[in-house]
Amino acid sequence: MAGAFSPAIPTIDDLTAMRLRDRQRESQIIQMRLVWTLVFVVIVLAALVSRIVWLQWAQHDRFRALADQNRVQTQPIAPPRGLILDRHGRILADNQPDFSLVVIPEQLRDMEAALSGLRELIDIDEDQLERFRAQLSQRRRPWEPVPLRSRLTAEEIALVAEARHEWPGVRIEAEAIRHYPYGELFSHVIGYVNRINAQDISAMDEATLANYSGTNFYGRAGIERQYESILHGTVGYRKAETNARGRVQQVLDETPPIAGEDISLFLDLDVQRAGWNALGGRRGAAIAIDPRDGGVLAFISRPGFDPNLFVTGISLSDYGAYREDPDRPLFNRALQGQYPPGSTIKSMMGLAALEAGVTDWQRTIQDPGFFRLPGTERVFRDWKRGGHGKVDLHKAIVESCDTYFYDASLKMGIDHMSDFLSYFNLGRRTGIDLQGELAGILPSREWKQSARRSSWFHGDTVNTSIGQGYMLTTPLQLAQAMAISARRGKQHPPQVAMAATATTEDKDLILKDPNNWQLMEAALTDVIHGAHGTARAAGRGAKYKIAGKTGTAQVFSLASDVEYKDLDVSERLRDHALFVAFAPADNPAIAVAVLVENGESGGRAAAPVARAIMDAWLLDGKGNLRDLSKPRLSSTGGGESP
């Protein structure tokens, strides 16, 4: 630089020097910044390392646990459901492999395209689609398969397998599902299982819930529901290493499930089938009970339904068809159908009258074909125009004379009738090991007061004496009443499963004069085998004696003086036909009740069904009465599968 007084014009040298100084300064700036950069890099790397140390050392245990949770899945293994067998060990319900179409949404790029493509290929209805979508919208573990359609046929499996590469994430999976080889034959007694639902789950306590963690099916009706806890078994567990897609890499530990116990039933396939076939296409019910042990030999309600349709979820159209069928195939007539018992209770009424002392076997009345309620103009008709003439109790049973019982009923009164008939399990549940049983109605003053808010009239008593009026019974109750009759008053609840341990508090009926049992049995035997018996057609050619009683139940109450011409009445308004019996009369091994809706005549429509059932149970392969002290041999041998 020049002196203070020199013009301040820098020389070239000065400029160069300045530039060099500047360059030097600039270098220093950058070099300082480079040092800062290195410092920054080291500090940040140290920060990153401390973050890693935090994760790997301080939080190690937590993350290790998380990784193990990821890796190790405890999967429940559903226990195989117990089989249901008939008394000879023939399978009535078993488990069969089923192939279903499942979708893993995470693997599918275009769900809608895949769904429409699959629907072109195989049959998937709106119903199934809706259920599928509902499951999709629920919270689930990723990679968990969602079922779309079950029961793929071999052809459908082939079709899907062929096109599967188009839709990764569409899979075919096998699972064991319930199978009912006899379809509708046992539908109303064995019931069915179907998919376990949120309601079932919410009703479970914690232990049950854990036990059902792998289970897809739940007993919904009949034996399947009643013995759900026995049939189900105990869940097993598999600890497995899985990948993120849920695919098992290796099994680390396994506790096998304990299979559900098999349940043997008193039911006899041959007896059931005989009754079923004898009912034919008619609507009705038939129950057969072995009075010796209370075992239910046949439990029939026609029409039935195909329980197999319900297992994987019945389609709306199938269900709609069942619901709209006028024959009501889903209605369990044997257990829940309540019908007026009609004349089938006359033997019990007769015993009631004897016990009350208002009549004996010698006393006779004159039957003009009607009964006039004393002190009134009210007339009760006998079913036989012109009447039965001179009638004693024996004849009143054999020919089913109404007038005799009209007369006796007023003499003994409703209180005694009601009390006495309750010994035959009328008016309350039998205690059978099936759910949903109805109790029927055994009318009494108290009942009428509380149910109808009305006092009891003599006319009610008269109606009750022939099983009409307010009285209602289920076919099961009638069979049980016959079983009690066959045991001469001894109580024992009916039971379907051999493992059932039902006991009863009911008191046995002990008659003042036990001879009356025998005399009543003789009268009932003449109903079948006597020359004037109302069911004599059904007894023809029988190798054993049957004690039975016919009955008809009015569907429609007709004014007592209106003559009714059955041909004019539409089929569905005709009387129900009833028949109750036990056999052999002297050593009963079966008690039966048969109801044929709109069958009109107990003797013609219902009694042959009972006969077929009794033959199936009592006769051996050659048509001779078998040795009843030994168990019946099955017609096809034990363990047969259809």
């Binding site: 950058i30 950069t37 890099v41």
Partner: protein, 380 residues
């Protein structure tokens, strides 16, 4: 500095006759090359496990490395003034292509990032800008006075922000931010005053919430939400972060052993061979593996800074330092993301993650640094 002086400062084992001469004549910086090879070798080792023991994957990655090294070698032969000369051209072409991408780009995963060029195939112009932006900023400051004036700073910011905003429009916010960073580090190197830096950081802190509410796309906002609270949606958006933290944490100091990481091998860890490969390394090799990788990275960065420190012209110096720092920022962002410190942005772990263009870009950068270093004595 003469060649003689240069030789004296080299580590003794590299000073041997022949060895040095050959490397130097080939314009290769042996320490940097050794560091890179070590990282890449380590990377292949991890990749073999992360890719499910696929030799195929490793070979394809190796092919990319070879292509990258060819680019590195070719660039290293060119004198630094060539890069200086071509910087504006490269930047101009890059900018043009960014505009083209927005107009006729190919869409993938909801963003237009690719340009299909006949004969060349698909190409991501933003990748080129990772080099072109810092290069032009360095070029701009090549004969400007330092520290930069207000006006110069403004121009430099424009050079950075115009391409960054174009990339942000694609939208690819992660790359936009990284490219901004690569330019900004040059400004930092150029001596931008600490006050301005402090003010900018403060400004960014204020702007961030505003960006969140008014600028970000929905998917970007979701990423930030997920970052702030991954547990809110553990099966959805939070899955990646939770699984990668679980992988790192469960590995422990010692690691579960090579090929034995459950998170990695059982597919719980997504993107395990690309963006999240660091989690595989952490799970299987533990803290020791991480420290080894960090040591190698630190060596490479240190060597780059050293080269930059000794560079002879301003352009080389700034550009070299910028590349080194950018390289580091990639590491920071990736490791920060995988360990749950930063939101998930698609940034690969440099030289380790499986992936195409970023490896070539990185090696091109190192090629330029080698050129800067090995051409020094030829300049006055």
């Amino acid at each position: 500095m003469s060649n003689h002086e240069y030789l004296r400062q080299l580590p003794s084992h590299q000073r041997g006759p022949g060895n040095l001469d050959l490397a130097f004549r080939l314009h290769i910086d042996m320490p940097l090359l050794a560091g890179l090879l070590a990282i890449m070798g380590f990377g292949l080792f991890v990749l073999y496990s992360a890719g499910g023991e696929s030799m195929d994957l490793v070979l394809r990655q190796l092919t990319r490395f070879l292509v990258g090294f060819i680019v590195l070698f070719v660039l290293a032969q060119l004198p630094p003034r060539t890069f200086r000369f071509w910087s504006p051209v490269l930047y101009g072409i890059g900018l043009l292509m960014l505009i083209l991408v927005l107009v006729i780009g190919t869409e993938a995963k909801g963003a237009q990032r690719w340009l299909s060029l006949p004969g060349i195939g698909r190409f991501q112009p933003s990748e080129m800008m990772k080099i072109a932006v810092p290069a032009l900023v360095a070029w701009f400051f090549r004969d400007r006075a330092l520290p930069p004036s207000m006006g110069d700073t403004f121009v430099a910011l424009m050079i950075i922000l115009v391409p960054a905003m174009l990339i942000g429009r694609q939208p690819d916010l992660g790359t936009a931010l990284l490219i901004s960073m690569s330019g900004l580090v040059i400004l930092f190197m150029a001596g931008l005053s600490w006050r301005v830096i402090g003010a900018s950081v403060a400004g960014a802190a204020i702007a961030a919430p505003l960006m969140y509410f008014y600028v970000l796309h929905d998917y970007q906002r979701r990423r930030v939400d997920t970052f702030l609270n991954p547990e809110a949606d553990p099966l959805g958006a939070g899955w990646n972060i939770i699984q990668s933290k679980t992988a790192i944490g469960s590995g422990g100091i010692q690691g579960k052993g090579w090929l034995n990481g459950t998170q990695s091998q059982l597919d719980f860890l997504p993107e395990s061979h690309t963006d999240f490969i660091f989690a595989v390394l952490s799970e299987e090799l533990g803290l020791l593996g991480i420290l080894l990788l960090f040591a190698l990275y630190l060596f490479v960065i240190g060597r780059c800074l050293w080269i930059s420190y000794h560079a002879q012209d301003l352009f080389s110096r700034l550009f070299g330092a910028g590349l080194a720092l950018t390289f580091f920022i990639y590491i920071l962002v990736n490791v920060g993301m995988v360990s749950g410190l930063l939101p998930v942005v698609g940034v690969p772990l440099p030289l380790i993650s499986y992936g195409g263009t970023s490896i070539v870009t990185l090696l091109a950068g190192f090629g330029i640094l080698m050129s800067v270093h090995t051409h020094r004595r030829l300049m006055g």
